[in-house]
Amino acid sequence: MNQGVNTETIAALDSNSLENRYAYASQGQISSHLPSITGSEALSWTAHKVDNNSAPNGIPSNSTYHYDQHMQQAVTSSASLGTVNAPQDYNGYASYTNPTDPYGYGSTGYSGYYNGYQQQSNPSYSQPVGAYQNTGAPYQPLSSFQNTGSYAGSASYSSTYYNPGDYQTAGGYPSSSYNNQTTPWNDTNYANYTSQQYAQYNTGTSAAYSSGSATANAAATSLNYQQQYKQWADYYNQTEVTCAPGTENTSVTGASNFGCPVPSVTSGYPTSNSQPAPPPPPPPPSYNPSWRPESSSSELPSVQSGAVVNGAHDGYWRHGPPTSQINHTTIQPHLQKPSDQNSSFNSFQDQQKSLYSQGPNSQYSATNQAPLPPPPPPPVPSYPQGPSFQYPAVHQVPPAPQTYQSPPQNAQSLDTRRVGKLQIPTNPRIASNLNLGLAKTDRDSSTTVAAAKPAYISVSLPKPDDKVTSSAGADSILKPGMFPKSLRGYVERALARCKGDMQMTACQAVMKEMITKATADGTLYTRNWDIEPLFPMPNADVQKQDNVQSSTAVSPLENKLKRSPSRRTKSRWEPLPEERPVEKPPSINHNTSKFTGWVNANERDKKTFMMNTGSKDGSLTFTRFSSVEQKGSNKITQKPVKRQRLIDSYIAADNGDSSSDSDKEQSLTAYYSGAMALANSPEERKRRESRSKRFERRQGNGAEANHLKSKSAVSGSLYSRRATAMVLSKNFEDGGSRAVEDIDWDALTVKGTCQEIEKRYLRLTSAPDPATVRPEEVVEKALLMVQSSQKNYLYKCDQLKSIRQDLTVQRIRNHLTVKVYETHARLALEVGDLPEYNQCQSQLQSLYAEGIEGCHLEFAAYNLLCVILHSNNNRDLVSSMSRLSNEAKRDKAVKHALAVRAAVTSGNYVMFFRLFKTAPNLNTCLMDLYVEKMRFKAVSCMSRSYRPTLPVPYIAQVLGFTSIAPENDGSDDKDSDGLEECIEWLKAHGACLTADNNGEMQLDAKSTSSTLYMPEPDDAVAHGDASLAVNDFLTRTAL
């Protein structure tokens, strides 16, 4: 029965993958509704769900947290069905795994594969990280852990998040206790390793599940698993520095979740303890909302898995992470509840499907209990290490899903997937229950396993180096074959985190003790070593780690989390993920609705999906970074990169192994390994590294901005906000207008604190620093200073540009802005700096269009003149003429401009130069730029029309060299100068001049008509734009 169910669900998923997307798109539209109204959401959900076959789930909708849970439970129940029967589960599993496996592969491969994507997502990622960290303070540990894992699989996220919630509740306890708990978990996970990890995963998911994300987890799980595996490997590698591992994990994303989360968790915990505590306080109501989101998010993850399409998955994943971050803020409350929920969940699961519930429950209990029962000797230190992490990570992950869920769209898809995911989770659970058997069975069952294997392999391989050592170490402790595999896995895990021989030996000692004790207790074979938390690291390093963790723990976690979502092992991503968490929390706080909008956008474009998610993450992350966290994250990130590489290579190797399973796999592996190879090429690495460093810096900035008022520096927050804003805008482009409308720009806007009046212009290459941005009052003074300044244009232009920048950065658009642009435009006109003028003009046009008062008529005239004289585009001219209001047409300057236009179009040079002499405002300046052309046209016209000669004084007068009235006394110096100039000009243009009897210069029209030419301008510059020549500028604008 169970099997049947499973297969059906799977099939449904596959078939629905397309539909799901579809649903997504539709959901996207609907999504906005969903967040706001649960009821509506439910409807939309149901519709989607119908497609997915999981209608019931959808129906429950999110009205309440409980509701979601129910839904999830329902899902879980289906999942549980699969799980209940171990064999059956396997089948289901196998099928599941197959789909998932590719994914898992993909995830690793993806990182490389998605490089392009990553870039986009990176920004967002980084932001999210920040968010993570923020939440992490309290939550971070949990969330971050889970996030990484959950990220990898969106579904897993949700589950993980939930778990964290539970954790926190449990964890609400002192951090130390928390840590202890976590460690046990890790241990158990470790022991099980491939199979176990899976189990854990499942458990994690199931736990999460209880929250409702289980389904998602299930679907995602397979992916997550692989990722997790990788993460583990990374983790181990990283483990040395718990924090560092965490970060590394983030880079791994999926895989890293477990390991990463743990470290971060641990660290985060201690720090976060206070924070976590707060979350519990939040009342149920808050819970509900957050939960709902979570549930939806969980659904989303599931959807992704169901999506079948890698790209879709990625998108989902990404979404998941962001949400997770978002959730964090909200989630904290959840966490408190989670504990309750967990229990309830268990009960739910039980009720729904006894088998299922049992599997999950056991796992659950294990996970839940694990923290409590296993008293890890050294609290925190041990945490950082892989085992403990996994659990926390899982928990944390769930929160993310929650946020996700908030976007209704995701939820729908999730529902369908949930089913699949749920099943998977159960499988793992079963496996865990079965213990060692699972791993083997998976491999044996080629069909099912084949898909799963890759993930598996990767998991088991965690770190080549570490493993070797750890396995060797394990061997030394345990004689192979004598102990349960799960135990062995546990030992390996424990050893893998050892940095040096010293630690190794110390760990071995501790473990021997543990094993002896367990043997004495008789629990050696009964204990779930997969779930068992790792004991704290026994050596001096621990303290170090602790410090790092406390400061950096959050960030590493975040990093891990970030990575996990994308599953990108590549270094590039690592930095980004960090950023994401950080930034995410804020955004979450501000706008859940926005998110939904984003999601919608995502749905529309799958490609954009990734971006969007990233952006979401970013937006979410905004919030708070603690500087400490930032620092830690930086360190961590660097390390992770290397580890990731290892993992990549590892994975590639794994792929090779698994390829034999089936043709499909082979092709897949080949594909991925190719991607991996690409990813691993030295140049790629270098590039990624440098990029990741860049991001780290950013993250650091972002980290400073913590919503948590305790540490948050205003400037820092501004940074992160800014970064998110950028991400958002990017998203906007991709996602369409809707999302942007929802962005709370006010919350992102920098408020300057700089009091300096004078400031040099520097093109921003990063988010603006409020310390160097002048507030409006100061900007006003600066404008006055520039206006009254006697310095040259270069100086003024520089000053005005910096003023403009400050205004733009602070989004100040009012009369002052208009004044600044007008001032600059006029100055630019005076010196003929057209490019600068055009910038100002276009800004002014939009400012005027917003109804801001200014000299809009004056500038309408300039605009007209500009079109007439310099663009020579009839259509533009007609359209700008037709836009003129009657009032404008009566304006002197505009009238003048229109008259100039008429003169130019008819070639009436007499009129043109008269207008030139009487031009109001700065119209002269614009006309001045056209004078040369007009004179040349005029002379060529004259030389054709006049016979036999034409007196030069007349030409000089008509062409504006001398004053208008020629009869004036010729003694006028000005006129004679003008005459000289005219003669010079005519000669320079090839005119034939003769002197008549009276000594007056005459233009020989006939001969001139054939010799006239346009000389090369003297001030021609190589790049063709004379106005760009600095020397020319200086001469023209010299003081």
Binding site: S737, T905, C941, Y946, R947
Partner: protein
């Protein structure tokens, strides 16, 4: 709205589905076209929309039968579009219709023959019309209109489907014309260029093989483009082609063509008969023509001023303004004729003062320098043959044909 029973609603929907399926399976483009024509407001579609609004679960009906479910991607959004259209929810209607149209294009691509061209025309037309309506709705709710732009890019896609293929290529020009309409409406005329290039450079397909309707529309729009570019001979050619091939019954279309053709013809020295202006209600040109005939600068300026908005909107303002030189030419020619009657021997020497005086009578306040400049320009542009003697302020006209006629050639610049 009359009450419909559930059964009736069901019947209507299944009826529609049957007809749709039959049209597709029998490759009956004509009946398919009717079924897609959203904005035709045909009673059958309206009643179907009512039925859909009543009977919410139409998707189930579609999925029940294999026949329909093949077309579900087209039908489902189409139903949604219909429903929303009926509810005057045009933005949603547009979005759904675009989805449906996308699916339709997919199908269309797979059909070997061009039997569904008629239906495709309807889709292209509907999507443009719906987008315009949706944009109006957007604007009225204070949002930026964007649907027409989206329709433009959709039609570009359609164009891509049609442009290369043999039998389907016949449809390319229709889509091009719809695109023109969109681009002209949006003011993004520069986007026309790529489409035009692909139409005009394809040697495989003779332009004359396109349907006449499309040819006329195409020539009309490209002619307008040439008017903007002030390429009068080309504009004359295209617009004349459109006029000659236009259905003489559709006076509105003829009027549209004439609106641009008349200024073009004026610029090359060909004046319309007065009855033509009367017949097609283009009286705004009457004074312009009169001014040209009489050399009455004042009248021309007044005519331009009176209809400034209209001329600016249609984009012929600058073209008409350039007629000024011809009016000057006419005026000087009249002076010349009068002088010739008085004293044939000195007729070819025109004193500048006389011209200034003539302009004064027309209440044109211009001084000697200005008029001298005008005359210089007239000579320069070859509207007047002769030369100007600055010292004596006299225009010396050529004794042979001092005022050459344009004869279909534009004023050279």
């Amino acid at each position: 709205m009359a009450y419909i029973s559930m059964g009736e609603a069901h019947r209507r929907i299944t009826d529609y589905l049957n007809r749709f399926y039959d049209a597709v399976s029998y490759q009956d483009g004509a009946s398919l076209k009717v079924l897609l024509s959203l904005s035709s407001n045909s009673p059958s579609l309206l009643s179907l929309a009512d039925a859909l609004n009543l009977y919410q679960d139409a998707s189930r009906l579609i999925k029940q039968s294999d026949n329909y479910s093949q077309l579900a991607e087209i039908l489902l959004p189409l139903f949604r579009a219909l429903q929303n259209y009926r509810l005057a929810n045009l933005i949603d209607s547009y979005q759904a219709f675009e989805k449906s149209a996308n699916a339709f294009i997919q199908e269309f691509r797979n059909w070997d023959s061009a039997w569904a061209l008629e239906a495709l025309y309807v889709v292209a037309y509907e999507i443009r019309v719906l987008a315009e309506k949706a944009d109006r709705e957007l604007v009225s709710s204070g949002k930026p209109p964007e649907k027409l732009k989206a329709a433009g890019s959709f039609l570009m896609k359609v164009f891509g489907v049609l442009a290369g293929k043999g039998t389907k290529r016949v449809g390319a020009l229709y889509v091009t014309c719809q695109l023109f309409k969109i681009y002209f409406k949006l003011g993004t005329v520069h986007l026309c260029r790529s489409v035009i290039r692909s139409i005009e450079t394809a040697r495989i397909f003779d332009f004359e093989e396109f349907p006449r309707r499309d040819k006329v529309t195409y020539m009309y729009y490209t002619g307008r483009l040439e008017v903007f570019n002030e390429n009068f001979p080309a504009a004359d050619h295209k617009l004349s082609y459109a006029l000659n091939h236009c259905n003489p019954q559709s006076e509105a279309n003829i009027r549209k063509i004439l609106k641009y053709l008349i200024p073009v013809k004026l610029s090359i020295g060909i004046l319309p008969k007065d009855w033509l202006l009367e017949k097609y209600n283009l009286v705004e040109y009457r004074n312009v023509v009169q001014a040209l005939k009489r050399g009455d600068l004042r009248l021309l300026r007044r005519a331009l001023q009176d209809h400034e908005d209209r001329f600016l909107r249609s984009g012929v303002y600058l073209v008409l303004e350039k007629l000024e030189l011809q009016v000057y030419q006419r005026l000087i020619k009249k002076i010349y004729i009068i002088q010739k009657q008085k004293d044939p021997n000195k007729a070819h020497q025109l004193k500048l003062e006389i011209i200034v005086k003539a302009l004064k009578w027309l209440e044109m306040d211009m001084d000697l320098d200005e008029v001298e400049c005008i005359v210089a320009i007239l000579i320069f542009k070859n509207l007047v043959k002769g030369y100007f003697a600055h010292k004596s302020k006299v225009v010396v006209l050529s004794k042979q044909d001092p005022f050459p006629k344009l004869n279909g050639k534009p004023v050279n610049s």
